[in-house]
Amino acid sequence: MDTHASLSHDHHDSHHDTHHDAAHAHHDHEQSFWSKYVFSTDHKMISKQFLITAIFMAVLAMMMSIFFRLQLAWPGKSFPILEYFLGKWAPGGVMMPDMYLALVTIHGTIMVFFVLTGGLSGTFSNLLIPLQLGARDMASGFLNMLSYWFFAIASVIMVYSLFVESGPASAGWTIYPPLSALPEAIPGSGLGMTLWLVSMSLFIVGSLLGSLNYIVTVVNLRTKGMTMTRMPLTIWAFLVTAILGVLSFPVLFGAVLLLIFDRSFGTSFYLSDIFISGQALEQTGGSPILFQHLFWFLGHPEVYIVLLPALGITSEVISTMSRKPIFGYRAMIGSILAIGFLSFIVWGHHMFITGMNPFLGSVFVFTTLLIAIPSAVKAFNYITTLWKSNSIFSPAMLFAVGLVSTFVTGGITGIILADSALDINVHDTYFVVAHFHIVMGASAIFGMFCGVYHWFPRMYGRMMNNKLGYIHFWLTFIGVYGVFFPMHFVGLAGAPRRYFTYKNFPMFESLQNINIVITSFAIMAALAQGIFLFNFFYSIFKGKRASQNPWNSNTLEWTAPVEHLHGNWPGALPEVHRWPYDYSKPGKEDDFVPQTVPLTHDEEEH
């Protein structure tokens, strides 16, 4: 600890630092409430804004999931809570089929985009990129602020769409036209879908501003000595995530824009030969399948936009808390790059049964299954890191281990789904729902919890309560397996997803019990999140004070003082002399060697 203290006071760095310091001395006192908490350009504050917004959205989306789980477990039974929250959409406490579809749609949209994209990348890229690279702030504080505010406005519009008279968007989170294009087909495709499209367009703008900023910062603002191969894996993951976002979100924007044209201006990009409400529509020559190609060109990289930050965060936490270097640092970087690249050429595996040319299907089978190789490398590297470790089970570490488990358990069913012949009979069934909730939903949210517990002291200068963290983790972990494992069997029974009830089919009678089991676990897991919420908000104000480096970590963010300064380090920027994973290095007294410690003359870099 003393080492960095003395280092940061060594004024040997470039002139722009001193210049910066001078500027701040005034800054910190002059900041008004508005510029400090609302229109902040400080990456640390923006990161908190993203986190709190995402937590709010996550609570909403989780409540929705409990509502539709109640309907699935006890179809037709009256629940006063449903009428309380859904009003006219659940007369007598029984929700209407329209509302059921609206809930699954908005649950998916919020979880995928607002929680796991905006929330996860927004929070941790913002917090960690400057701090772990030794930068004063993001390349552009102003764009960073805009990025949050676009996200915030998008969130407000998405929430507002829940309250319009014809109901929110209800065509599924993938909003396939023509269903999403025709209000005659489903009421949610009226104003609700318009708001969905507007909200998502703003979301994309925010996401692009953020991603460009992350990329520029990583490329240009690394401190002295911070070469690319000395960057923590978190930063590698955030960098590749940002690149994926920049390349794929514009395609979704295009897809959304064309859909807006089809809906409002009579074009026929996605519509052809449709007869609805007693009328033949004029549109002809378009293709609904075109939308699916464009959507999944974003949609598949999106899976990794969600997952890679979680993998980056857990790599860092597993290494720190196991007191061991991450195993195969370069292989981990290679895997991140390989996954990032491959994620762009696999989108067709969502479309095996759309009538696409079977040969093209074969190509997508091949590319998709290739992704299993870098994924396997990552999983085995995690596990080897634990081998002969000295693991300290902080709540963050537990969530990191949990992620490795869900990443494997959910990933292997992907091997089944990627096989086009096998996909035929499980496509769009609960087998798919089980698969992606475990591999993407649970893993990414575990990565997020892991990050929150680990960097909470960095964000708020206080500690979260460990005991509550333990209970939160174990209940959530059991809940995840309890909810999503049985869903595989529901899928194998042939039960399609997005069904309001299965009562109309004698062949699904036997599923009632499984659905009750799933819903019970879901309620338990949802209640467990209450523990987290309490712990989080209580600790912000009343948690125990954190020391500067509570986890004895090597990375730069722990060399900055606990109090937040605009500019992060009071003196010169720290200088980096080694990679971030020198834990338990032989010949060293402590079991960690911060990146700021120079190599001794006979010491070999990793």
Binding site: L101, P178, I383, L386, S391, V408, N465, F521, K544
Partner: protein, 341 residues
């Protein structure tokens, strides 16, 4: 079942009990030294890691035993057997990976927890190990890919010329089947021709249309004969899912899609096998299509060729139906209008 609910409830209650005790403790300790992970915490969590391994393996086995009966019965189509064999092959690999990887993960977590005086082994990388777990998955995946694609190619090879053609027409929220009639050809269609008496938009000027046979509610297919399905949709995307036959294809407005299979078990035989007298094969919609998506179904009857021919002979052709619209078509179409509104 009830046992499981009890377990879940007990877990929750225990958790909340501990919660309340912890709340008391923390309020006492507040302001004391920094929050730390104690030796005891590490020990307990390491043990819980092991317990969790037992839990998921046990839960997995319990589910297989408990839920085996809900899984779809043996395939009623020829290619479905190939899919099922491929499925089993992949599943063995996947289950092995699931058990082994999770076992190693949780065992390591349970074993290598922090104790005073312990030091972790500095082991940053090993090219040999990394090669091993790059190459072995690559080999296993090659096998999976090759085997999978062989099956896929076999299934998607176009139907033979003497296959029976049947069209399945989807709209919110029901199915209609159309048989080509005596000439063996489906008549042309044009979506602008849809009326109450011509819900499938058949072109009356096309001679091939007049003998087409249209059925709702259920459709029949002969056992042992290849059937080539043509799919169309009137309004939004639907998906024709026939789980017992391992068959699924989207129905997309503006285009035709195809899927073919050979049924090998008649409805009567399947009823006997399952010991369920009311069992029926079913066609259901598997692409979100609107409020009544959950109830868009049609029964499929598989029977001997002679029974099938007898049934088909009783159905009226499109041309014949036109002559008696009041009798057979009108009730249907009023229903449609109600559904649409």
């Amino acid at each position: 079942m009830t046992l499981l609910i009890i377990i879940v409830a007990t877990l929750a209650i225990t958790a909340f009990y501990y919660l309340s005790t912890i709340m008391q403790q923390t309020s006492v300790l507040k302001g004391a030294q920094e929050e730390q992970v104690t030796e005891k915490d590490n020990w307990i969590n390491a043990k819980l890691m092991f317990a969790f391994l037992i839990f998921i393996i046990g839960f997995f086995i319990w589910q297989i035993a408990e839920y085996k009966h809900v899984i779809l019965p043996e395939s009623a189509s020829e290619h479905g057997n190939e899919i099922d064999t491929l499925w089993d092959f992949n599943m063995y690999i996947v289950i092995a990976v699931f058990v082994l990887t999770n076992a190693v993960l949780f065992l390591f977590a349970a074993k290598y927890y922090h104790r005073k005086g312990n030091k972790a082994t500095f082991f940053a990388h090993s090219t040999k190990l990394e090669m091993i777990w790059t190459i072995i998955p690559a080999i296993v995946l090659s096998v999976i890919i090759i085997y999978g694609l062989r099956t896929w190619n076999h299934i998607t090879t176009p139907a033979s010329k003497d296959a029976l053609t049947i069209e399945l027409y989807a709209k919110q929220f029901d199915w209609t089947a159309r048989y080509p009639g005596l000439d063996g050809k489906l008549g042309k269609t044009n979506y602008k021709l849809i009326t109450d008496v011509n819900p499938l938009a058949l072109d009356e000027k096309d001679n091939a249309s007049m003998d087409d046979i249209i059925t709702k509610g259920e459709f029949h297919i002969p056992v042992g004969k290849e059937v080539n399905f043509v799919f169309r949709s009137r309004d939004v995307i639907h998906s024709a899912f026939m789980p017992h036959f391992r068959a699924q294809m989207n129905c997309v407005p503006g285009m035709e899609t195809y899927f073919h299979f050979k049924p090998i078990i008649t409805t009567a035989e399947m009823r006997k096998k399952l010991n369920k007298q009311d069992f029926d094969y079913v066609l259901l919609c598997n692409k979100i299509c609107g409020a009544s998506h959950f109830n868009m179904q049609m029964n499929i009857i598989v029977e001997s060729e002679s029974d099938y021919n007898a049934w088909l002979a009783k159905q009226k052709s499109f041309g014949a139906k036109e002559e008696t619209p009041a009798a057979s078509v009108a009730p249907d179409s009023t229903k449609n209008i109600v559904a649409l509104n």
